[in-house]
């Protein structure tokens, strides 16, 4: 070994040591606060699995303000432990108290449905100013009307779905002023089918073993009931194995479309024909397959303007050995899979992703990504897995990605404000990605910052549901995660440095949150776009308020809203670090 070599190695060791010490000195991006919030969960192992597919699919969470007291409450959708299907596992509602802790109010609220819970959709279907709840089940679904007095009533309003319901979302697709409902259904599961996995060991079945099902579309009649319009709308024409769904305008015509994540087959994009019918155009618009023209096992969906071009982009979570896929909207109402160019090269391949979301966790004015993982096929045990002998084979850590792109340099909007803290932390240094050949597309670039959120990413579990919202009302987005062992985990955002500003915008139409509305902030240097879209992720429902990280921007010049009925209004600008509400009809139409 030459002297130079020795010197280089010594230098490397010193740098690594210093770097490690530096990294340790930094605060984590998220801290788990489950216990501090009053959730005392039983630390016992979940019962070993019985290889029945529903038990591995998990269940969702809703972050909702059911009592209209201005803070977020939590609805946990549940199902019985494996092999104990007769043991009731009622859904649980937790009310946030003035001190930020939560109290179980399931009994008094009357929302504890005991079906085999899967997903949840939240929305004010009767425009009476409080949110109602739809719960999907492996079995008949359930609708709860909010009585406005902190109680719910289980009602039959024509929302009949006996198939295996998964994700669901409310949206006013027909622009008649009330919320309709889209429910994804998974497969026609046969409990007697036995499957084997790798090397013939018993395992959970691949969904292709079972027949696909038809999703359901229910139109709100306006009199408190719904009509099943699945057939008339054309949705029945193409069954699928649906797990995730979002509803917003993805074609740029101002009408709400439905995008469905299907497991192991082409995703569906139901394009609103504006006459109550839909045409499936996922292949034509580049949203059915990945860049290689291959179908993937799609689970959760995140929606957000990842590249600051005022168009919604999509991020889908997938199976082990598939990428989680980032579809960037192009200017011709199509989408392009930019997963690899955006930096997801190999990082997430070993994982099976479910719940996910775009969130600007560091309030630096660009959207980051968080996702939770957990296998559906038995494989090698990850170090740190400790959720029981059976489930350890399915447990995986979660992932957190920071948007580290030089988007503005590409799109010509000026340099994006950088995150002081996250920028320092980055173990994977911010890369100036080549973007060779993609100059015409503002392509975001993401860096894996999982190592800096150990509470969130180092716990090895089988996580499924995920919801986002500013639970502690401190100006940044927190996360709640549901795992297979009937567990909820809360992660408080610690990432945002004090110099980074934020703005929360609540858009209201007819006394309810204006689902599907597009909110645009105009500032001197930037234009930021967000969506009123609680129905994202996997089986879950997030807070409906639109969050904008502003970086060091200290003034919003103007706020524009495109409502779901197609109308557009401008609202006066404001200063940052506030929560504002805009009402349809009170702005200046344009």
């Amino acid at each position: 070994m030459s002297r130079n070599d020795l010197f280089t190695k010594l230098l490397t060791v010193v740098v690594v040591l210093l770097w490690t010490a530096h990294a340790e000195a930094n605060e984590p991006l998220f801290s788990e606060v489950t216990s501090a919030l009053g959730f005392s969960q039983i630390e016992t192992s979940w019962a070993p699995g019985t290889y029945a597919l529903p038990e591995i699919m998990g269940s969702g969470i809703a972050l909702l303000d059911y009592d209209n007291d201005g803070d977020l409450d939590v609805l946990h959708i549940r199902y019985p432990p494996p092999g104990k299907e007769n043991l009731p596992a009622p859904n649980r509602l937790f009310q946030q108290q003035p001190d930020g802790t939560f109290v179980d109010v399931t009994e008094t609220s009357g929302i504890g449905h005991t079906g085999y819970g899967q997903g949840v959709a939240v929305g004010d279907v009767d425009n009476d100013g409080d949110v109602d709840v739809y719960v999907t089940n492996y079995g008949p679904d359930a609708f709860y009307r909010n009585n406005g007095d902190r109680t719910f009533t289980l009602e039959d309003v024509g929302l009949s779905n006996n198939a295996w319901g998964t994700s669901a979302t409310f949206s006013d697709y027909d622009r008649d002023g009330d919320l309709d409902l889209y429910v994804t259904n998974y497969v026609q599961f046969d409990p007697e089918t036995i499957c084997r996995g790798k090397h013939s060991a018993p395992d959970y079945c691949h969904p292709s073993v079972f027949e696909p099902t038809t999703d359901r579309l229910f139109r709100n009649t306006g009199d408190g009931t719904f009509t099943d319009v699945t057939q008339q709308a054309g949705i029945a024409e193409m069954p699928g194995r649906g797990l995730g769904v979002v509803c917003l305008d993805l074609t740029g015509d101002g009408w709400a479309d439905f995008y469905v994540a299907n497991d192991g087959e082409a995703n569906h994009l139901w394009v609103n024909q504006t006459d109550g019918t839909f045409a499936e155009e996922a292949i034509l618009r580049g949203l059915a397959f990945n860049a290689y023209g291959q179908p993937e096992a799609s689970m959760g969906i995140a929606v957000g303007d990842a590249n600051n071009d005022a168009q919604p982009d999509l991020f889908l979570t997938h199976l082990f050995n598939e990428t989680n896929t980032l579809y960037i909207a192009s200017n011709d109402s199509g989408f392009i899979d930019m997963t690899e160019i955006a930096g997801f090269t190999g990082i997430d391949l070993p994982f099976t992703g479910f719940g996910c979301g775009f969130l600007d966790f560091d309030n630096d004015a660009d959207l980051d990504i968080a996702l939770v993982n957990g296998r559906v096929k038995r494989d090698n045990i990850f170090e740190g897995a400790d959720i029981g002998e059976f489930w350890n084979f399915y447990a995986e850590p979660n992932l957190l990605f920071e948007n580290s792109s030089q988007v503005s340099a590409i799109s010509g909007r000026g340099e994006a404000p950088s995150s002081a803290r996250v920028g320092q932390l980055a173990e994977t240094p911010k890369q100036k990605h080549p973007n060779e050949g993609f100059q015409r597309f503002p392509t975001p670039h993401f860096s894996d910052v999982s190592a800096h959120a150990p509470d969130f990413t180092e716990r090895v579990e089988v996580s499924r549901g995920m919801a986002f919202g500013d639970i502690d009302k401190d100006g940044d987005i927190d996360m709640v995660v549901s795992s297979l062992n009937d567990r909820l985990r809360f992660f408080r955002n610690e990432a945002s440095p004090p110099e980074h500003h934020y703005l929360f915008v609540r858009a209201i139409t007819k006394s309810r949150d204006a689902y599907g509305a597009e909110v645009t902030l105009r500032t001197e240097s930037r234009t930021l776009t967000g969506y009123v879209l609680p129905g994202i992720s996997y089986l879950s429902s997030s807070a409906p308020t639109v969050h904008f990280g502003l970086g060091t921007i200290d003034k919003i010049e103007e706020i524009e809203v495109q409502w779901q009925d197609g109308s557009r209004e401008k609202f006066p600008g404001t200063s940052p670090n506030r929560r504002i509400t805009v009402y349809q009809g009170e702005g200046v139409p344009f």
């Binding site: 054309g234 292949i283 397959f289 290689y292 199509g334 392009i336 090269t345 990605h433 973007n435």
Partner: protein, 608 residues
């Protein structure tokens, strides 16, 4: 404990070998020499030498054995230590494996590595065993070791590159560049390198390697597909279309290319074409596997049932039915319930003319399809009917080949009936939109109501049935079946030929003619078709055409006596006696005893 065990084993080996002798000898010699010196000395001192000798012997033996034991312990320790250095990567979930064949394969490959840890081949083989059984991480470690031992071996670099393309694209680029420096003519290496470069955003370099792969393997549709994908991502829509059209020419069933073509056509505003390709993109991709000869090395290491079946099917695709049978035979047992295995086994047996066994295998498949609960549960009714039709078709052919024509006809009819059942069963499940897609697909792609595979299959069944009818002389039935076959696949040259043959037998030459023309157009060297067309022309007194056709036959087969004979007649008819005589002389040259021609020739000479 490891050292101890190893030492014990060593001791056993040493004790039972001549090695002990060689070890003993030098010690014994030294001790004896020492004793002798002592003896000389003691003799002078008058001390009894015998007891001294015994003591020396005992003492010597003790020292000798102690030293031997010490040596063995050191040896054992060193060996165990060196064995411990053979750090064999282990699949973490090996404990979960229940298949004995797989455990044995892993054990054997690991043992080979332990025995010859410096051999790259054994490391590579262990890598193959891991890789084909989906243990990619330990496989990479094995290939890395093989590459360390044999850094200039293309295979290890190639497999390392291939395996790391998606997970570690930067590493993959390094491995594959090194591999290509050793052999730049291996197209798959260029393709994987292009893939890694594409992931890294180095699109120009990726395109270059795709072009090289295209030059090296022009029939591989992946180069064109990926060039199309890159062009589309760069918004070069027209260029993307060109590449994708090329890809689809090479493999019209490549769903991936259809998916992108749908987007390309949408961007170009061609909605009808976009819908056509969107329809095709929903069908499973067929024949789109990368042609990679080195993959066979890996595939051969597979010992699980699906891998035997995969090898069998690959051999079938290559037309190598002997090896296919050998692969399937490993899987065949009373407990084997995979219907596809039984069918493929039966078909392979049929192709190597083991008809009785083929029939037995196919009938067993039928039994499973009829009565096995698991098989029936996992298949839809129309799938079962289709598989039954396939089995009956081959059973019919085994009957036909063994001269049991009546049975062949009966079984062939069953196949057709079941086929129609299978198609009929699929129709009610079609929703309005599915039908719309089918209609669009049918209209634009020119397909019949059902999938092209099914159509081809049914055409074959009808043709086989026709052949059987023809054999037993039921020519009208044969005609009907051949016609059905051609209705389904109008381009099937063999059916045109067979149909024309039946017309010929029935002396319905005018009806035979268009079919022979089709055959001759498809295969201009088909002697029978050209010759018979010549004869038809002769009967129609179209002598010029007849002459041209017979001359074509003679050009193809200079010993075709009948063509010379017919040519002579044609020339005779147009009054070219000299040319006619020339043709008849050729007949006599080839058939000196042909009395008829001799007489004609005699008459012609007399006329002259």
């Amino acid at each position: 404990m490891k050292v101890f065990k190893f030492t014990l084993r060593k001791v056993e080996v040493v004790v039972h070998s001549s090695f002990l002798f060689y070890l003993r000898t030098p010690f014994h010699f030294v001790l004896r020499f020492y004793a002798k010196q002592k003896q000389v000395k003691t003799e002078t001192e008058n001390i009894v030498p015998l007891s001294n000798n015994i003591i020396v012997d005992i003492f010597g033996l003790a020292i000798q054995r102690s030293l031997l034991l010490l040596l063995l312990l050191i040896n054992g320790f060193i060996s165990a230590k060196s064995q411990g250095e053979v750090n064999i990567p282990q699949p973490a979930d090996l404990d979960l494996v229940e298949e004995r064949r797989l455990l044995k394969a892993v054990e054997t490959a690991q043992k080979a590595v332990r025995n010859v840890p410096d051999d790259a081949e054994v490391w590579g083989q262990l890598g193959h065993v891991y890789l084909i059984h989906r243990w990619e991480v330990p496989a990479i470690a094995c290939y890395r070791q093989a590459n360390t031992i044999a850094p200039d071996e293309f295979r290890w670099l190639y497999f390392l590159g291939r395996l790391t393309t998606r997970r570690e694209p930067e590493a993959a680029v390094k491995y594959l560049n090194r591999a290509l420096a050793l052999n730049d003519a291996y197209a798959p290496a260029h393709l994987y390198l292009a893939s890694a470069l594409r992931i890294l955003g180095k699109l120009d370099d990726a395109q270059q390697h795709l072009k090289t792969a295209k030059e090296l393997q022009p029939d591989n549709p992946f180069s064109e597909l990926w060039l199309g994908e890159i062009a589309f991502a760069q918004r070069q829509v027209e260029l993307a279309r060109t590449h994708l059209e090329n890809a689809l020419r090479l493999n019209p069933n490549q769903s991936e290319a259809h998916a992108l073509m749908a987007q390309v056509a949408t961007r170009l505003g061609d909605k009808e074409t976009a819908k056509k390709h969107a329809y095709a993109a929903r069908q499973p991709s067929r024949h789109s596997e990368l042609s990679d000869p080195l993959w066979w090395h890996v595939l051969r290491a597979g010992v699980t049932a699906p891998l035997y079946a995969e090898r069998g099917r690959r051999y079938m695709a290559e037309g190598n039915y002997i090896d296919a049978v050998a692969e399937f035979e490993v899987l065949i047992s009373r407990t084997q319930k995979d219907i596809d295995v039984w069918l493929d086994y039966g078909v392979s047996l049929f192709h190597i003319e083991r008809y009785a066994q083929a029939r037995a295998a196919l009938e067993h498949a039928q039994t499973l399809l009829r009565s096995d609960e698991d098989t029936r549960k996992n298949k839809k009714p129309h799938e079962i009917a289709y598989l039954q039709a396939q089995a009956y078709n081959y059973i019919a052919q085994t009957y036909y080949e063994t001269g049991q024509t009546d049975a062949a006809i009966l079984t062939g009819q069953k196949a057709i009936q079941l086929f129609h059942n299978s198609v009929g069963n699929t129709q009610p499940s079609l929703t309005k939109n599915s039908r719309l897609f089918l209609d669009i697909g049918n209209r634009v792609l020119g397909q019949k109501t059902h999938d092209a595979t099914y159509t081809t299959f049914l055409a074959n069944v009808h043709a086989n049935l026709a052949m059987a009818y023809e054999d037993i002389g039921q020519l009208e039935q044969a005609l009907a079946q051949y016609k059905k076959s051609l209705e389904l696949v109008p381009t099937k040259s063999a059916s045109h030929r067979d149909l024309a043959g039946v017309y010929w037998k029935m002396r319905r030459y005018a009806e035979a003619e268009p079919h022979y023309k089709r055959v001759a157009a498809d295969a201009p060297t088909d002697l029978q078709a050209v010759y018979r067309l010549g004869l038809i022309s002769l009967t129609k007194e179209d002598y010029e055409t007849a002459i041209a056709r017979f001359e074509k036959v003679i050009e193809l087969d200079a010993a075709h006596v009948r063509a010379y004979e017919a040519l002579g007649i044609a020339y005779q008819e147009i009054g070219d006696i000299s040319a006619a005589m020339g043709a008849f002389e050729e007949v006599l040259r080839l058939e000196p005893n042909n009395k008829n021609t001799s007489e004609i020739l005699k008459e012609l000479r007399e006329k002259q």
